[in-house]
Symmetry: C2
Subunit: 498 residues, 2 copies
Amino acid sequence: MADKNLGITPRATSYADWYQDLVLKGELADHSPVKGCMVVRPYGWAMWENIRDVFDRFFKETGHKNAQFPLFIPLSFMAKEAAHVEGFAKECAVVTHYRLKAGPNGIEPDPASKLDEPLIVRPTSETIISAMYSKWVQSWRDLPILINQWVNVVRWEMRTRLFLRTSEFFWQEGHTAHETEKEAVEETLRMLDVYRKVAEDYLAMPVLVGAKSAAERFAGAVDTYCIEALMQDGKALQAGTSHFLGQNFAKAFEIQFTGRDGTVQNAWTTSWGVSTRLIGGVVMTHSDDKGLVMPPRIAPIQLVAIPIWKTDAERAQVVGAIDAIAARLKQAGVRVHVDDRDNYKPGFKFNDWELKGVPLRLELGPRDLAAGKAVLARRDQAGAADRSDKQVVDAAALETIVPALLETIQKALFDKAKAYRDANLRRANTYEELVKTLETSGGFVLAPWDGDAAVEAKVKEETKATIRVIRAEDRGTKAKAIGTGRDTEQWAIFAKAY
Amino acid sequence: MADKNLGITPRATSYADWYQDLVLKGELADHSPVKGCMVVRPYGWAMWENIRDVFDRFFKETGHKNAQFPLFIPLSFMAKEAAHVEGFAKECAVVTHYRLKAGPNGIEPDPASKLDEPLIVRPTSETIISAMYSKWVQSWRDLPILINQWVNVVRWEMRTRLFLRTSEFFWQEGHTAHETEKEAVEETLRMLDVYRKVAEDYLAMPVLVGAKSAAERFAGAVDTYCIEALMQDGKALQAGTSHFLGQNFAKAFEIQFTGRDGTVQNAWTTSWGVSTRLIGGVVMTHSDDKGLVMPPRIAPIQLVAIPIWKTDAERAQVVGAIDAIAARLKQAGVRVHVDDRDNYKPGFKFNDWELKGVPLRLELGPRDLAAGKAVLARRDQAGAADRSDKQVVDAAALETIVPALLETIQKALFDKAKAYRDANLRRANTYEELVKTLETSGGFVLAPWDGDAAVEAKVKEETKATIRVIRAEDRGTKAKAIGTGRDTEQWAIFAKAY
């Protein structure tokens, strides 16, 4: 079996091992010798750059600018917003010295360089950014401030999983300050919708959109909104969050301005972020036992072209022709790679690029060339029993066929993922039904919940499932709330999650 | 005087204050509450993104891929290459704990979370990257590895200057591993030439190109090459370095491979970097007492369009017309901003955008509009006594006029900077002449130097000047070396430097 040769654990054997095999053998990332920190390899980083560029374009279209704030946060800043420090205290990397020296046991931190105030490696940047906004904002005319940064952050983790949970990860964090509460809430929801759009239209990852319960809120937020995706093992993945921070950080850091009416007011702030965790989400949403499946819009390579030959004369002819096709496709905006390695056979290359998840493979041999044809094979249908993954097309029309086919694949991936997600969004009317559905079916389970934190905690203790999202569109149907039996119109979506 | 109103210290009064005024009032960067760390504001970061994109394109064209390696480096890794740790020990931020807790004096690092092995916040990444390459390389077929990363690094600084010297800064670091010494040396020089090209063709910053003396070499390198620019105060700025690391890091981290002949060999590695320091270099190369002067090719805004009106009817008309012009210019690839703020007068806006260094200003009033004309004003000639900075042009031809004029400005900035640099590259034949020229004229001074480290140290002690670069093209003219009087054909270029 080809699958066996590639050494990928089938999903049915171990979903966790399958995931790790794909990330490592697909060369997206690697473990590093630094506990909890990953190396994102070129193929994974190229994927991230594509994702980043899409978000960045939408951020700029909605009026945001990029900047860069310090990596370090003074300890006292972390402590200024009570809920915030409470939320992050247990996972902070702390810098205490600024010099090394030779000691009795070798090189060690120089005791003479101990900092008066320790510095925290940012787990998120609300505090330091609020401190700067306080300096920049005087009048209502200075608002809104709409800034984003693409940076690394550190939240110490003991049990790590590449992309999903590592001590260092890479993300964007948008931080905005507004004159009114209304504007800040609008901003929070606007960016939530950008997240939904990119997740669905570019990552082909359908998401549920709504608010978090109080227990799942960001430390320091008034309201946290999120997009939640469903992985193939029935577990949810939080894929992005957008926070309405009210005046909490503005008060703690004195982001004050003179309003239109001449009074001094506190600003209203928001923050929102998505991270390299999305890469893990894409892997777990689309891939199969043969390897990765990349959505075309963010694939580092959209089409790999593989020349097929036997003799040297054929090789020269076919490689020349395939280079010309690649040039034409690049001209048409397709990200193409020609695999003309001569120390591997085509069959090996097919498996190799299937593992890497390249959406389309183009095969060209001497007979195709003579006939003006080429073969296209779809990664998302690889291994179809009826060979429907393959089609013979006119080589002269590739510039129009390939871009259209890539879009077809993009849509097919989304539709497939959405069908799976829809089939795994179930309804429970009672506590018992909720617990049973979570245990037997997994997936998302919608249940009437009146906001009772004790019930939420009990579900978590019993099933490990949490409230993932509370959607506006689920509100309204009257029911007896789980756990309390009280009347409620609020429905929450529970799931076990990454 | 307009200059006075903007509050910019003239260069003649204090070059250092002038520089800081430009960076702060030009809103490129700001001091942060974190000792030694800067905030790069949106205008400065947009400039950096433009610079980054140019470099990134050249890196990719020369076969490199981006990746991301951990922020933290285990202490023991730093110590593996002796010269390397020696060079960086005095400026390392050290992480010693991974959790906070409430203590008797408030929140503090939790003693129970003390790390067995402290982690260094990367000052550069040769060690951690070499450790990964060691894992990835087995055969000569795995080489070369050509990887770059865009990241933040930390080198602790007590006396900081925005962009020029801060504890945290932003850079790219390329790290490559090769099968042969020859290939590694070629790579080192190839990237040096990319640096020269971007500095000169995009930043309009002429540079001297060559090797460092042993004393100025990167800690762990066999050879360090550099590009050196000259600031308006006669001081040099190291603008980029490219290191041939020989087998030093390969041996320390066991980057070994089976060669074509079947023997196990150590790889040959290189590293090369440019940083946000380049922004400081651009500021100090081109700007004047009115403010920043941005080279068009990297300017965040290339043209600012300012509508001029008196009545509301005029306003509607002129702003409509200027928006249409802006749309046409954007279509032509020009980065345009329309300043239609109605709470400022045109004169204020002129000064404001001159301070920000926008290369071209377009003015459009009702009479221009009626005549089908517009006024263009060049920032690099602002304040010309004969008003030669301004020209009236046909509004219909702006799409062709503006791009051409931006290129004219780009070239004019380079030519001006080069004329200044050439006029300040002097020759000294004796030690006394060298010291006198450094003291009285500043600038670069070329002198015969036979490699004697004691003489180099003496010059530094006496004048604070260092050897900036040893150029291949200066070699060959026989002379008596400064300090030693020995015959030499080597000439070194000295200067005081940032």
